[in-house]
Assembly symmetry: C2
């Protein structure tokens, strides 16, 4: 039910995915009559691997966390996450409010043993034509070194399972590459990661700078949720700016319109290269179950990518890998895990 477009996007995406993946089973969670009507519209009301789970409420983008957590107990978001908790689904996907999704997921699924704080891991395109994974992107605004250390471990497991890279390279986001650079939290984190690297547990590349995200210097960029969120939104903002200028300038006169027409292939290729669709689907890591967050503005094509990520994560058994690595690598938790309710 979530995102800017609701079932008109999520349901065609689910139908398309079910047709493409003969082993996939999908449970559509939300207002049953709305979902069934949308399925019918796409002649998919009798697809055998799609079922409907009714949920009477929705979390809106403006709902405070308290409402999402305590008032709307039959929200589509919560019921979807409960499918995972109850073992009825391997993963949940939502295009709803990020903060609410994290809070509901933490509350329903609880945090994984050994993990202090779940984090959000997103994917960005890079110049090497591959993905750069980056976390945390907003769940944790005040971080201690051991939190960033945990993010690095969780992110590394995710990249490894999703991309088939045995030892993903990890970069610590900083204001310079030298060891002496950075604030106190980052300097201490660097020491923790260096120690893991020396005993062969993690493949720590060292400090990276903002531009390394798009250079593709490392497979995984680690930062706190404040820096990650601001950086991601600044980058999205520049992307929007560039897009609007391209559109305006190519519409300015007949010559440039002709140019745009002929150069259309190039523009399409560009769009494809930067298209965030391919990279839609952020992982909520460190919970006792898989939850994926689609961009709220996603179209059906893009939302299908988020479903694919969730499917691949379940198939590649990300949760089991996470549990193993956390048990092996993670120092004992230094704080009591606090659930928000």
């Amino acid at each position: 039910m979530g995102g800017d477009h609701g079932p008109s996007v999520t349901i065609p995406a689910a139908i398309s995915f079910a047709k493409r993946e003969p082993e996939a089973e999908l449970i559509l969670v939300g207002l049953e009559n709305v979902i069934r009507a949308e399925l019918k519209k796409h002649h998919a009301e009798n697809l055998p691997r799609i079922s409907v789970q009714h949920a009477s409420e929705q979390v809106t983008m403006d709902d405070p966390l308290e409402v999402a957590l305590r008032r709307k107990k039959d929200s589509s978001m919560r019921v979807a996450v409960e499918q995972v908790k109850d073992g009825k689904a391997h993963a949940a996907v939502s295009a709803g409010n990020t903060g609410a999704l994290m809070a509901v997921s933490r509350y329903v699924l609880k945090t994984m043993a050994g993990v202090d704080r779940p984090a959000i891991c997103s994917i960005l395109p890079n110049e090497k034509n591959g993905p750069t994974y980056m976390l945390d992107l907003g769940a944790n605004v005040d971080c201690e070194p051991h939190h960033l250390h945990q993010f690095a471990i969780m992110g590394s497991v995710l990249v490894s399972a999703m991309e088939g890279i045995a030892r993903p390279t990890i970069g610590l986001l900083n204001v310079g590459t030298e060891d002496i650079k950075g604030n106190e939290v980052v300097k201490l984190t660097s020491k923790l990661l260096q120690a893991d690297h020396e005993r062969g547990a993690l493949n720590f590349h060292g400090n990276v700078e903002g531009n390394d995200i798009f250079k593709g210097t490392v497979d995984l960029v680690v930062c706190d949720g404040f820096v990650g969120n601001v950086t991601l939104k600044a980058v999205e903002g520049l992307g929007h700016f560039v897009k609007s200028v391209i559109t305006t300038e190519f519409k300015r006169n007949i010559f440039t319109m002709l140019g745009a027409l002929i150069g259309n292939g190039a523009l399409k290729a560009m769009k494809n290269k930067f298209n965030p669709s391919r990279y839609n689907g952020a992982s909520l890591l460190g919970l006792r179950g898989l939850v994926f967050k689609s961009h709220g503005g996603a179209d059906a094509y893009s939302f299908e990518w988020a479903i694919r990520r969730a499917y691949d994560a379940a198939k590649n058994d990300v949760q089991a890998h996470l549990s193993t690595m956390i048990a092996e690598l993670m120092p004992r938790s230094t704080e009591t895990t606090q659930e928000p309710v």
Copy 2:
């Protein structure tokens, strides 16, 4: 002598600026024979408003701060800043190592009375076709609320003097616009700025997010140097990525090349819109004298913009405005100003 290209860029830029501004006087600081040879090359050895000040050493991009500060006492960077201290110049401009320039400037000029920490204020283009000022961009990686508060005051004065805006709008960079968002430092800073707003001292818009930088939501974006540096470099990295994809895609085949040719005007207009040249010249704010930092990779056109910023700042008496506002607005310093030597 600084930057990636040295006198081959800085000197043509200085000559061009001197010709354009009949009241400007320029002192070129560095190796006298190199500078005179470059002036001669451009038939400018006898321009009356350009003089040369010899300095026997250069700070390189790799020099540790200690070397820049203690060993190279006759560096072009230091001698240029000394021209300001000695009242021989109204402002210094350098394309050299940012960290070294800040350290040398702090050491030579000292921090302005009432200011705990100088900051670096840069300028970015926005969708409203205006500049968004942003600070701090790297000088201060660990900030307390009163530091961010001081940055807001200094930045506001700069925008006001440079852009002729009586009450520039100030945004505090955060992970959301609501008051409850953010880490502890940002939440406390917001209260300080809100108090200034309520008594009419500053025009505080409230929290802004990363994408607001390019939307042009506010005239001035305030953040700590860690967040500012990472964000700026991420944005530069995306810019580089976009540029490389445009170039590659338009070269791919004859049709797209033809398209590029016809659409050339549009591409030029785009380039002009994003060209960081127009926005070259970051201000080192909070020192007892004006210092400007050009991008190291600047060409002559771009370096001339940095000279222009320094010239405009001196002409608009930014230092005097800063002193007045700081005396009026800034609460007593809570820490002793520490000079790096």
